[in-house]
C-alpha cells in the first residue's frame, strides 16, 4: 500500500466547501440560499490610503512635543480642512489641517498618520450550490452536487459557460479552424494547446474560457486572450480520457472553472446523489488493482490499472489500454469517480 494524491474525475460528486471571507467583513447570503461563483456572497472592508503629515516639522517643534499641540485624538475622524494641530506663532498661529476626509490613526516621531475612510469590496467565487452554514463576519459553507474534475491549473481569471467540445480526440491539438461563431459565450474544450493563435480566435468569438489537457509552459507567463484551465499540466500531454468523456457528456451544460490554490476545480452542477465525496483532493492509498492516472513522463494523462506495486523500488507497473508501463509510484494519482 502506497500513499498518493487523488485525481478526481466524477460525473456525480458531492462537494462541500468552507469559504472564509478574505478579511474582516460581512456575509450577505443566508442558509438555504442557492449560490453560484458569480454571485456576491459578502463584502470585506478595504481600508483607506495612508498619509503621513510631519506635524512637528510644520509647527517647528521637537518631535517629542507633538502631543502638546495636537487638537485631535487617535482614531478621530476629521473632515478635509479640519485642524489637526496648532501653535501660536510670532505674528499668527501656525496650523496643520487635514488634507482630506480621514481618520487620524496614530501619532509618533512628530508625525500624524492619517487613513482614508474604508470602503467595501464584494466577495464572489463560492462553489455552485446551497448555503448550509453562515458564520457572521467570517464566511460560509456551501454544498452541492455535480460533475467535477480536479484540474491541474488555471491561467487567467475564473470563468463559466456552457461546454462546447471542439476536439474530436483528447490528443487533438486545438487549432484556429476548430473555433467558430458557435463558441460565443461557451467554454471550449480542446485537447492539447500549441498555438496562442487559437486562443486569440476564441477571444475574438467571445468564448468564456478554454479547457485543455496541456499547454506550453511559456503560456504561464504570457498574457492570454482567454483564460485556460489545464486538466493535466504543461507540455504536450493529451487530456486524460475519462475527463474528456465527462466533458463530452456535459456538452451544452454550464461548467464553472474556479481557482483553488494552485489547482482548478471544474464543476458542472446538477442534481444527483453525490456518489463520490469530493473534499478538494486528498491523499489516498493504492494497492494492486487500483485505477490510477499517470501524472508525469511520456504517459502523462493515461489511465490504467496497477498490476504490480513495489514499495521497495518505489515503482508501479501500470496496465494501459495497449501496453504495460513501469513508472515511479510518486507519479501515480488514484483515480476517483
Amino acid at each position: 500500500v502506497v500513499t498518493v494524491p487523488e485525481a478526481v474525475i466524477g460525473s456525480d460528486c458531492a462537494y462541500r466547501e468552507r469559504f472564509p471571507l478574505p478579511g474582516p467583513g460581512r456575509v450577505v447570503v443566508s442558509v438555504g440560499d442557492m449560490v453560484t461563483p458569480a454571485e456576491i456572497v459578502g463584502y470585506v472592508v478595504e481600508r483607506g490610503r495612508v498619509g503621513a503629515i510631519d506635524v512637528a516639522a510644520a509647527l517647528r517643534i521637537p518631535a517629542r512635543r507633538l502631543h502638546e499641540f495636537l487638537l485631535v485624538k487617535e482614531g478621530q475622524s476629521v473632515r478635509a480642512g479640519e485642524l489637526l494641530a496648532r501653535r501660536d506663532g510670532l505674528l499668527r498661529p501656525i496650523e496643520v489641517r487635514a488634507p482630506v476626509d480621514c481618520r487620524a490613526m496614530a501619532f509618533g516621531d512628530g508625525v500624524v498618520l492619517l487613513e482614508g475612510f474604508p470602503s467595501e469590496r464584494p466577495v464572489r467565487g463560492v462553489v455552485p450550490g446551497r448555503v448550509v452554514e453562515v458564520s457572521a463576519g467570517e464566511g460560509l459553507t456551501v454544498e452541492g452536487t455535480g460533475s467535477l474534475v480536479l484540474a491541474s491549473h488555471l491561467m487567467g481569471h475564473e470563468f463559466a459557460g456552457p461546454v462546447k467540445m471542439v476536439a474530436a480526440q483528447p490528443e487533438r491539438v486545438l487549432r484556429v479552424e476548430h473555433i467558430d461563431a458557435s463558441c460565443h459565450g461557451a467554454v471550449i474544450v480542446g485537447g492539447v494547446g500549441e498555438s496562442i493563435a487559437a486562443l486569440e480566435r476564441a477571444g475574438e468569438f467571445g468564448a468564456q474560457g478554454v479547457v485543455l489537457g496541456s499547454a506550453p509552459g511559456e503560456w504561464a507567463n504570457a498574457a492570454l486572450p482567454v483564460p485556460v484551465a489545464l486538466t493535466e499540466g504543461f507540455g504536450r500531454a493529451p487530456m486524460s480520457r475519462p475527463a474528456y468523456e465527462l466533458f463530452d457528456e456535459m456538452a451544452g451544460r454550464v461548467l464553472y472553472a474556479m481557482r483553488r490554490g494552485r489547482r482548478c476545480w471544474l464543476i458542472g452542477p446538477h442534481e444527483g446523489e453525490g456518489k463520490v465525496i469530493f473534499s478538494g483532493g486528498d491523499l489516498a492509498t493504492i494497492a494492486e488493482g487500483a485505477r490510477v492516472r499517470i501524472a508525469a513522463g511520456e504517459h502523462t494523462g493515461a489511465v490504467g490499472e496497477v498490476t504490480v506495486l513495489s514499495p521497495a523500488s518505489s515503482e508501479a507497473t501500470i496496465k494501459l489500454a495497449r501496453s504495460l508501463v513501469r513508472i515511479p509510484v510518486a507519479d501515480c494519482e488514484l483515480l476517483v469517480g
Binding site: 500500500v1 500513499t3 490610503r49 509552459g217 478538494g280 486528498d282 513522463g297 514499495p311
Partner: protein, 576 residues
C-alpha cells in the same frame, strides 16, 4: 546503561513531501531502519492540513518497519514500550517562510549584516525602509506604513548604529515603526527584533512595547570593523519555527511530533555536518529552496526560489532558460525547461519518470547550487560586500536532497556537485544517498553518537577527492602535471590538458600521495603555478582531476555545447 534514547523517529516536513525515518540500535551501533513518505498536498491545495501528509508518511513508516508509532490520538508513543513507539522524536519543517520588514537607520554595514542574517533562514524581505526615508515622513514612509498594515509580516527588524558610538536616530526609527504599527489590527501585529546599539534597548522597548512585542539581540554591527549577524540569525531561525505556519491547519500536530527537537533545515545541516577540524560545505536541494551550510565557519544560507519543486519556476524566471538549458543533452530545449518547471510547481512531489526528466532535474539542480553559491559569496563575506572571485573551497563538500537520494549513480552526484558548485583546490566530495541529512540534524541534540553512526554508515557515500585548479586556459594546452604514489606502490604520472576531466580509481579508505604541479595561471590552492604536495583519499569514484577551468566554459553553439557535455559525462562515466 545509557540514558540516551535508543529508538528515534525523525520527520522531515517539506513543501513537496513528508518523510519519516526510524533509527534504532542494531547490534553495537545505531542504524537507519526504515522510512515512510507521502506527498505534501497541502502545498498546492488551500485549507488542506499539513497533518494529512504527516500521518500518511507515519503510516507508511509503520507499514515498512512493522512497528506501531502512533497512539489512537495520532500522537507519538514515547518512550518505546514492548516494541511499540520510539524513545524520542524530532523533525525539520521547511514549509513556508518568514515574512520580514527591515528598518535600517542608515544604508551601512548594519543593514547589510541584517540582510546576511536573513539569508540564513527561509525568509522573504517583503518591506525595507531606511532611516532617511523614515525621517522624511513622505511617500516612502507612507507606502511602508500602508504595506505594513495591508500585509503584516511576521517580524520587523530594526538595526543601525554602532555600540561604541550609538546614534539616537535608531530611537526615532523605533518611534516611527511604533507609529506605523498602530495601523495594524492588534492580533496581526508583528514582532519587533531590535539588533541595534545595546545602549538604546530600554528606550526602544519603552517606545515600541505598547504596540509590538520586542525581542532584543546583539548588535549586528557592533563597530565599524566587525559584523555580527549570528545572534540575529539565531533569533530568526527560532522565529521561523514559531511564527511561520502558525495558522496552517495541522501545524499543531507537527509541533507535537517534533516537540522541542524541531529545527529548520539550515540549523539541522549545521548540526549534522559539524565535524571538528573539518571544514564541510553542505548543500541540500529542496523543493522550495536550496540550503548551504558551513558549520566550521558558523555560516548558513537559504536560497529562496531555487528548488526542484515550487522553487523551479522562480529559478527559471530569475536565471532564465539558457542558464538551465546549457546542461541539457541533445533533444531537449528551452521549451522542455519551461514545461518541467511549471509541472513541478503544480505537483512538486513528482519523480523523474524517464531519462529526459532526469536530465532536466539535474540541470535545474546545477543552477540551484550555482545560484545559492552566488548568494553565499555576498552573504558570507565579512563586511557584507560580495567577493567577486571566490570559488567554493572546503575540506569536504556534501550534497543532499530528494534528487540525490534517487540518484542513479555516484557519477550523477559528482557531476551535479562539480558543475553546480564548481569547487576549486583539493577537496573530498560526498553525497547523502538516503536523504537523511536534515532528519538526522534534528536528532543531534537527542543522541549525537547515534546520529553520527547512521550518517556515516547509512547516509553519506564518499565519492572521492577532487583536484580542480582555478583559472582558465586554451583547450588542449598543458595545464597540470600530477605524480601519484598509489597505495599498492606503483606510481602514476599524468600530464593533463586544459578542458578535460579525468578519473583515477582509488578505493574508499585508500590514500595516494600526490605532487600536483599546475602551469600558470592555474592554481590548486597553493597559488598560481605553485606546486602542491598532498595526500588524496579515495572513494567510489576515486580521484577526479577536473581541469575544465573555473568558471566552467559554456560553449555558445549548440553542437559544441552538446559535444562538450558528452565528453565530460563520458569521462566520469555518467549513464546516458
Amino acid at each position: 546503561v545509557s540514558e540516551e534514547p535508543e529508538s528515534m523517529c525523525a520527520l522531515d516536513v517539506g513543501s513537496a513531501c513528508v518523510k519519516a525515518v526510524l533509527l534504532d540500535r542494531v547490534g553495537d551501533s545505531h542504524r537507519f531502519v526504515a522510512r515512510g513518505a507521502a506527498p505534501q498536498v497541502a502545498a498546492v491545495s488551500p485549507f488542506k492540513a499539513l497533518s494529512a501528509g504527516l500521518l500518511a508518511a507515519l503510516g507508511d513508516l509503520e507499514d515498512n518497519s512493522g512497528r506501531r508509532l502512533r497512539g489512537t490520538d495520532d500522537l507519538p508513543i514515547t518512550p518505546e514500550q514492548l516494541g511499540w513507539g520510539v524513545d524520542a522524536t524530532a523533525g525539520t519543517v521547511s514549509t513556508g517562510c518568514l515574512e520580514v520588514a527591515l528598518a535600517s537607520v542608515a544604508d551601512d554595514a548594519a543593514g547589510r549584516c541584517a540582510e546576511a542574517a536573513l539569508h540564513s533562514v527561509p525568509s522573504h524581505l517583503a518591506l525595507k525602509i531606511t532611516g532617511r526615508e523614515m525621517r522624511a515622513h513622505r511617500d516612502a514612509f507612507e507606502r511602508f506604513a500602508e504595506e505594513l498594515r495591508n500585509h503584516p509580516p511576521h517580524v520587523v527588524i530594526l538595526v543601525g548604529g554602532y555600540d561604541r558610538k550609538p546614534e539616537r536616530a535608531v530611537v526615532a526609527g523605533a518611534d516611527a515603526l511604533a507609529t506605523a504599527a498602530a495601523l495594524i489590527r492588534p492580533q496581526e501585529r508583528p514582532l519587533l527584533v531590535y539588533a541595534g546599539p545595546q545602549a538604546f534597548r530600554p528606550q526602544v522597548a519603552a517606545i515600541v512595547g505598547e504596540r509590538m512585542a520586542v525581542h532584543m539581540v546583539d548588535n549586528v554591527a557592533p563597530d565599524e570593523r566587525h559584523a555580527n549577524p549570528g545572534p540575529l540569525a539565531a533569533e530568526l531561525d527560532a522565529l521561523c519555527l514559531t511564527a511561520v505556519g502558525r495558522d496552517t491547519p495541522g501545524m499543531g500536530l507537527v509541533h507535537r511530533w517534533c516537540g522541542s527537537a524541531m529545527s529548520t533545515v539550515s540549523r539541522a545541516l549545521m548540526r549534522v555536518y559539524n565535524y571538528p577540524g573539518v571544514d564541510v560545505l553542505a548543500a541540500e536541494i529542496g523543493a522550495d529552496y536550496t540550503v548551504l551550510a558551513r558549520p566550521a565557519q558558523a555560516k548558513a544560507l537559504v536560497q529562496a526560489g531555487a528548488g526542484l519543486g515550487q522553487g523551479a519556476r522562480a529559478l527559471l524566471d530569475e536565471s532564465g532558460p539558457r542558464a538551465i538549458a546549457r546542461w541539457l543533452p541533445e533533444g531537449l530545449d528551452e521549451k522542455d525547461v519551461a514545461d518541467w518547471a511549471m509541472n513541478k510547481s503544480l505537483r512538486p512531489w513528482l519523480v523523474a519518470a524517464n531519462p529526459a526528466e532526469r536530465a532536466l532535474e539535474l540541470a535545474f539542480a546545477r543552477e540551484c547550487l550555482a545560484k545559492a553559491w552566488r548568494s553565499a559569496r555576498q552573504a558570507w563575506s565579512d563586511d557584507g560586500r560580495p567577493q567577486p572571485t571566490a570559488l567554493p573551497k572546503a575540506d569536504m563538500l556534501v550534497i543532499g536532497g530528494g534528487l540525490l537520494a534517487r540518484a542513479r549513480s555516484a557519477a550523477d552526484a559528482a557531476t551535479l556537485l562539480l558543475d553546480g558548485l564548481q569547487p576549486y583546490g583539493v577537496c573530498r566530495i560526498a553525497y547523502d544517498t538516503a536523504g537523511l541529512g536534515p532528519a538526522l540534524g534534528s536528532l543531534v541534540d537527542v543522541n549525537p553518537a547515534a546520529v553520527r553512526s547512521v550518517l556515516e554508515q547509512d547516509a553519506i557515500a564518499v565519492l572521492g577527492t577532487v583536484v580542480a585548479p582555478a583559472g582558465q586556459g586554451k583547450v588542449g594546452r598543458g595545464c597540470l602535471h600530477v605524480e601519484l604514489a598509489m597505495p599498492e606502490g606503483q606510481s602514476l604520472v599524468l600530464d593533463l590538458e586544459a578542458g578535460g576531466i579525468t578519473r583515477v580509481p582509488l578505493a574508499l579508505g585508500a590514500k595516494a600521495r600526490a605532487v600536483i604541479r599546475p602551469a600558470r595561471p592555474f592554481d590548486v590552492g597553493a597559488g598560481p603555478g605553485q606546486t602542491l604536495e598532498i595526500s588524496l583519499e579515495g572513494g567510489s569514484l576515486g580521484i577526479i582531476i577536473d581541469v575544465r577551468g573555473r568558471p566552467l566554459p559554456d560553449p555558445e553553439s549548440l553542437p559544441d555545447r552538446i559535444a562538450t557535455l558528452q565528453r565530460w559525462s563520458a569521462a566520469l562515466q555518467v549513464p546516458g
